[in-house]
Symmetry: C2
């Protein structure tokens, strides 16, 4: 039976272009890499946010960790999608409705040119892709947004210090010195995308230092907003920290996405930012 | 249109029970874990081998890393399975033939009780599950096999040395001392499963030390066979090392699986082992 695709609500014209980063970056420990340090991140936040940005009329560059959660496929099982099929007594093969809807939303959004997916694995790939995305978005100026939800490694092993081959375990305990990854947020903000609206994320496990860290990041890196979240509660609650506000955003019910309200709020702030920038330009 | 399921060739009776371990284990670096060390492994070897063990009449306990490659789903894309559907001009929704076949093979094998899947993430989970699998397989004695293809961490951070919260990056370079994971192969071989047929894997990046390392493992841990593979060529070539032989096994063509011949050979060796053990028991 032919199926009509479910509607994807796209605005009359593109409201803006957002680069959503999603999932964790890795840091190789060996030149011929067998072992690496990884950062916990399912990529669910970035995938969900991408869907709401598209719904709000944005075109999205989805810079994501290979194999992490994807927009319109968030509810698929981790290990085997086969659970999403059902089989009749006559061995008839049926995809469940959810799968059909995912499929049609996904192809429609890609077909309309509203979603470009670019994968990364290591921190090195991630930073290069971010720079390229910034360069390609410079033509939209303040209509560009960076929504940096990826869990980016803080420490890495410089190439020259890396073991060439797999580290042998027979040699006793392993001592490692990891170097800090240079902070790239100021570079993005000041050099790569000086006109874009920039949102970074702060995840902490200790609730006592979370807001303090988020405010530090806001000031130090001149972000337009920082999304503060705690490991224990990040699925149901975030705090949006800006120069003037701390807005707590919670899930309304079990089926809701905390990203729905978050993106709505950020889109409003982005539109205000574009207007203000326009006024300032006129005033000059 | 109703579809007949493709046949899965299962022997008249179960030839044996094999515990296949697959994918890499992780080592958390913080008690409330944000960062962890991971071992490179797609899980493809374990997933492919599982299919050939089932085809050879074995029941398989597939102990695998969450999210790693699964039997009968090996050719699915990493990021989005949606590529495996096609849509007609009338928005008719069609799964490609490959997906149909995967689906039917998978449900048939699970329905016949030939495949039990158990997931792990950390090295701690992995070792506990391995011990449980060994205990549950002790009733089949020498008909049991352990095919240890998982990439198990060599180093870990003991719980008491672990940072309680997310490690802060502001404090400069990070020095870490990792402790060796105790070797569990001798424990499995001598205590948990003394009658089972045991195969371990040796992956190296340096071809010059590979065979030497594999032979060391064979002797030191009293394995019945060690599968030696090199990072650069592991998809197309392995060397099966036993007390009497070194047998090189290569893919016959691009579409073939190196696991097909490997499992065939191991099943023969396992059957010989069962016979020999039977003779020895009779001779006593």
């Amino acid at each position: 039976m032919p199926l009509a695709p479910p509607p994807v609500h796209v605005g009359e014209k593109i409201a803006g272009v957002v680069c959503v980063t999603s999932g964790g970056t890795t840091v190789p420990l060996e030149q011929r890499c067998v072992r690496y340090i990884d950062n916990f991140s399912s990529g669910n936040r970035g995938a969900a946010s991408t869907e709401y940005f598209v719904k709000s009329g944005y075109a999205v560059i989805f810079v994501h960790r290979r194999g992490s959660c994807q927009p319109y496929c968030r509810y698929l099982p981790e290990d085997s999608f086969l659970e999403f099929f059902e089989v009749s007594d006559q061995f008839e093969f049926q995809a469940l409705n959810f799968l059909r809807n995912s499929f049609f939303s996904s192809i429609q959004v890609v077909a309309e040119g509203l979603l470009l997916k670019i994968p990364f694995t290591t921190i090195f790939e991630y930073l290069q892709i971010l720079q390229l995305a910034a360069a390609s978005m410079s033509c939209v100026g303040p209509r560009g947004m960076f929504y940096l939800a990826a869990a980016v490694s803080d420490f890495y092993v410089p190439w020259e210090n890396m073991a060439k081959h797999k580290i042998q375990s027979a040699a006793g305990p392993l001592d490692m010195r990891l170097t800090q990854v240079p902070k790239m947020l100021p570079v993005l903000r000041n050099q790569w995308a000086p006109l874009a609206f920039c949102i970074s994320f702060k995840l902490e496990t200790d609730p006592e230092i979370l807001l303090q860290k988020a405010e530090m990041a806001l000031g130090k890196y001149q972000m337009h907003a920082v999304v503060a979240n705690e490991l224990a509660t990040y699925k149901r609650e975030v705090i949006l920290v800006t120069a003037n506000d701390r807005i707590k955003i919670s899930k309304e019910n079990d089926d809701a996405d905390v990203e729905e309200k978050l993106i709505q709020l950020l889109v409003e702030k982005h539109m205000d930012y574009i207007k203000d920038l326009g006024k300032n330009v006129c005033n000059v």
